[in-house]
């Protein structure tokens, strides 16, 4: 169904659309929405499992999970690593989910970017904040670059893309401050020459960006598998307690 042809365009609320789709008895809804909290609201209204594929600036759990899997496979563990998340933190739900996940798994997380794109409130997440990229990358195991989210910016957050690349774009010189075996990540899509140098992105000895894509499929399969299993288990529990089909709440 294309959005343009759906009832949303005719004024139907998100909840009404969800309830309509819910009446089709799906096992799983995968939802991406520009408003933070919209997916959570929707999950309260439907009977099936709901997977958040990104809501506003809030969370993007499967991206963080695929990043975690990529790191675990590349570094052999997912704890006690120094990880720098660099760039447009302010507009990034990917950064927020990664900060939460990497913190839960007992890693040391640094945020690197200009003050306009790394709001002071992020220090409350238990991370270290740097506005000098060379200092922020010193001895890190993982360099996670983020895209400049122009579509979410409503003001002048950077002087120019050229100036931004000069100070915060990942190039060989800045990467040399990280550990020699540090890996480079990017959730895509990349803006080459803005947040990352093309040669770094393509360096098969450092970049795991293509692996992230592969892990993305596997992580989403695993997430859907687990959610559907839990949903089926709940349905069977409900059936076992009912006297006849059709008496389910």
């Amino acid at each position: 169904m294309a959005m343009q042809a759906s009832s949303i365009k005719k004024g139907e609320t998100l909840i009404d659309t969800a309830l309509t789709l819910n009446a089709m008895h799906p096992d799983l809804l995968v939802v991406r929405h520009p408003q933070s909290g919209a997916v959570d609201l929707l999950a309260q209204k439907v009977n099936c499992a709901v997977l958040n594929a990104g809501d506003g600036r809030h969370e993007h759990p499967t991206q963080a999970l695929l990043d975690a899997l990529t790191i675990r496979r590349a570094k052999g563990r997912l704890h006690r690593l120094n990880i720098a998340i660099c760039g447009d933190i302010a507009h990034s739900r990917v950064a927020r989910s990664n900060i939460l996940l990497l913190g839960k798994m007992e890693n040391r997380v640094r945020l690197v970017g200009p003050p306009t794109l790394v709001p002071a409130g992020f220090a409350d997440f238990g991370v270290e904040v740097y506005d000098n990229m060379r200092e922020g990358l010193q001895d890190v195991d993982v360099v996670m670059m983020l895209r400049l989210q122009r579509e979410r910016m409503d003001g002048g957050f950077i002087p120019s893309e050229r100036e931004y690349y000069h100070r915060y774009g990942l190039d060989a010189d800045k990467l040399s401050h990280a550990k020699p075996d540090a890996i480079v990540m990017h959730p895509g899509p990349m803006n080459r020459g803005v947040e990352i140098d093309g040669d770094i992105a393509d360096d098969i000895n450092r970049s795991v960006i293509q692996e992230q894509v592969e892990m993305g499929v596997a992580v989403r399969m695993a997430a859907m598998d687990l959610l559907v299993r839990n949903h089926s288990g709940a349905q069977q529990d409900a059936l076992a307690g009912s006297t006849a089909p059709g008496t389910l709440a």
């Binding site: 789709l21 799906p26 958040n52 993305g216 499929v217 596997a218 992580v219 687990l226 299993r229």
Partner: protein, 90 residues
Amino acid sequence: MTFTQRHLLGIEPLHPTEITTLLDLADDYVRLNREKRHGDALAGRTQINMFFENSDSHPGQFRTGLQTPWRGCDEHGDAGLVDQKGRDPD
């Protein structure tokens, strides 16, 4: 196996053991995918994708994750082009 969540709405509600469970299962799926084999854990299920925002590869990845045994995947939304985010055209 430890994963008790009914929904996956964010990382915040997940316990570290649930994260590990999901990653371990994802590792199994990596192996299956590389062997071009398919599990049947999701056979006969119905999924609806609702994308109300421009996206890059994610709708495709959720669809790829479905595999053939699924009953169906209904697409509802507005999955836009990567190029609108500024990536070089492939």
